[in-house]
């Protein structure tokens, strides 16, 4: 898909504040990616790999005293601008051009206001001030997430978790953003409700106008929904590729193990593996490839240097010495 670039992130680095007195922790490390207009990018990896931090840094939702470097350009406009790390431009972009849905969104609707009223507050001012237009727009948004108009009159507690999460998506869409950031939007939901919510997201993208970044630890779910995937490990992007490339020709040993750990219908138990060990603590310094201690393909170089992302195929980048060496031999 050679679409026009909507979001371009270059050399993103994020440091989060640690306990008082301790140095800041380098969480996101040299991450670069782009999202085309209408494109869906999945960000996958185990918990603790920096997926949420990456996503939240795009809209200035990091804790105070976080530090961000690199560049984040939305439609050509630099949102970081070098100056304040949690700059106003990030906050302005959020809400207007970028909508956000989190795993917890369904639990953070205001319990004392009806759904419709909360949605109206999110509308663009010119729509909000015209009561009839505003009501019509709320019903339209509810319809887009597959909910009947009567939901506007309901209080959050009267709705199921899946319905509340769809309301949260509708809320994020109210100002008509170009980009939707979704951080584990269905992780708290069961399989059937999850499928319905993902169908809603799918239908929202159908006209090719909305771009989505989906953060998920569920590789199969992300591969089903997204066009491209970025696999993160220990704060770094270790593989970028189209979803079919990932599911059939993954290059990084980590990606391959994640695939092997994902049970598919009809698999036998001996085919479902786990990845021994755990991702490293980002607070501890380490040299070399962060995956090296767990990697079945490690060799000499791996413990000494961090591999950079190399292109090994069409739109396919991998940060792994084993792959790069083999690539040269091939």
């Amino acid at each position: 898909m050679a679409s026009e670039t909507l979001l371009e992130v270059r050399d993103l680095n994020v440091w989060l504040p640690a306990a008082a007195g301790a140095p800041r922790v380098h969480i996101v490390r040299d991450v670069s990616f782009t999202v085309g207009r209408g494109e869906r990018l999945g960000v996958v990896g185990e918990s603790g790999c920096g997926k949420s931090t990456t996503l939240l840094s795009l809209v200035g939702l990091l804790p105070a005293r976080a530090a961000v470097s690199g560049s984040i350009r939305l439609d050509g406009v630099d949102l970081l601008g070098g100056a304040s790390p949690r700059g106003e431009r990030l906050a302005t972009a959020r809400g207007r051009d970028v909508g956000v849905v989190l795993q917890s969104s369904m639990n953070t609707l205001n319990p004392v206001y009806r759904v419709g009223r909360q949605m109206m507050e999110g509308l663009r001012p010119e729509v909000r001030t015209d009561a009839r237009r505003a009501r019509a727009r709320v019903h339209d948004l509810l319809e887009r997430v597959g909910l009947p108009p009567r939901v506007a009159r309901a209080y959050p507690h009267e709705l199921s978790g899946g319905m509340r999460q769809r309301v949260a998506i509708a809320l994020a869409l109210a100002p008509e953003p170009k980009l939707l950031l979704a951080d584990e939007p269905t992780t708290a939901l069961d399989t059937i409700v999850q499928a319905r919510v993902m169908e809603v997201l799918d239908s929202l993208c159908a006209d090719g106008q909305l771009s989505v970044i989906l953060v998920s630890h569920h590789l199969a779910l992300a591969a089903r929904f997204c066009d491209r995937l970025m696999v993160m490990y220990a704060g770094r992007a270790v593989e970028h590729a189209g979803r079919d490339t990932i599911s059939t020709r993954a290059g990084h040993p980590y990606t391959r193990l994640l695939l092997a750990a994902t049970a598919d219908i009809g698999m036998r138990k001996d085919d479902v593996v786990s990845i021994p060990g755990a991702p490293p603590s980002l607070a501890l310094a380490h040299e070399g490839c962060p995956f090296e201690p767990r990697c079945p393909e490690r060799f000499g170089d791996c413990a000494d240097r961090v591999p950079t992302l190399d292109q090994i195929g069409v739109d396919h980048h991998v940060g792994c010495f084993a792959r790069q060496t083999k690539g040269h031999l091939a």
Binding site: M198, R224, F225, A263, I265, K269
Partner: protein, 268 residues
Amino acid sequence: MRPLGLNIRDLVIDYPARRGGAKTRAVDGVNLRLDRGEFVGIVGESGSGKSSIANAIMGLASVTSGEISLGDTDLTALRGKRARHARRALQLVMQDPFEALDPHLSVLRLVEEPLIVHKMGRSKQERRSRVREALEQVGLSPAEDFEGRRPHELSGGQRQRVCVAAALIVNPDVVIADEPVSMLDVSVRAGVLHMLDASRRRGNAVLMITHDLPTAAAFCDRLIVMHQGRIVEEGPSLRVVQDPSHQYTRELLDATPALGAHSPSAGS
């Protein structure tokens, strides 16, 4: 092999009405048999009554009608000390390994606790060696490296292994696991499930509740599909996922993200 493990007959569980509403019938006439050496899965969407069954077996939810027996003993008829004694043969592994463990206690104390509660293990020395054995069994090896740690010094997967070790250490006949891997990364799920499978191979019965159909199908001998408090389908795991007979099972399968099958509408 003792012939009979757990037997549930015509189980009904109602929860009292809240705020003027109607009472909730969470479980509506469920029959279920779990033999020793079997690994059985209950799948179904949330609200279908899965946890209510687990809680009733453990004596944590009251039974409206029906019978839950372990061997020849009807658990629903027992009260107090006798009920606790009978339930020693049952252990529960819960969904949330972060909530389940007292953050102040060391791994050694956490895994030793059930032995103390059930007055098993004569000396501190004996208990300690059983804890080590249990930790090794669940892959927290070498045990010496883990027994002094507190829960916050463990990853989610390691915590759930501690929970499994604490359940297995009393050598229960039946292990009930309510969504034991739902909160865990896929990378560590198989590890925990292989532990439960190993305990099954030693002759325990395992009843696992989950909404993850592929994993359940891979690990369980039999699958029970629940919908709105009832069992709608039951059979050998592979048969259920490859040739489902109930419409709801098909819906559950269709809703399951698979690496092989992409939704046609997702652009490419």
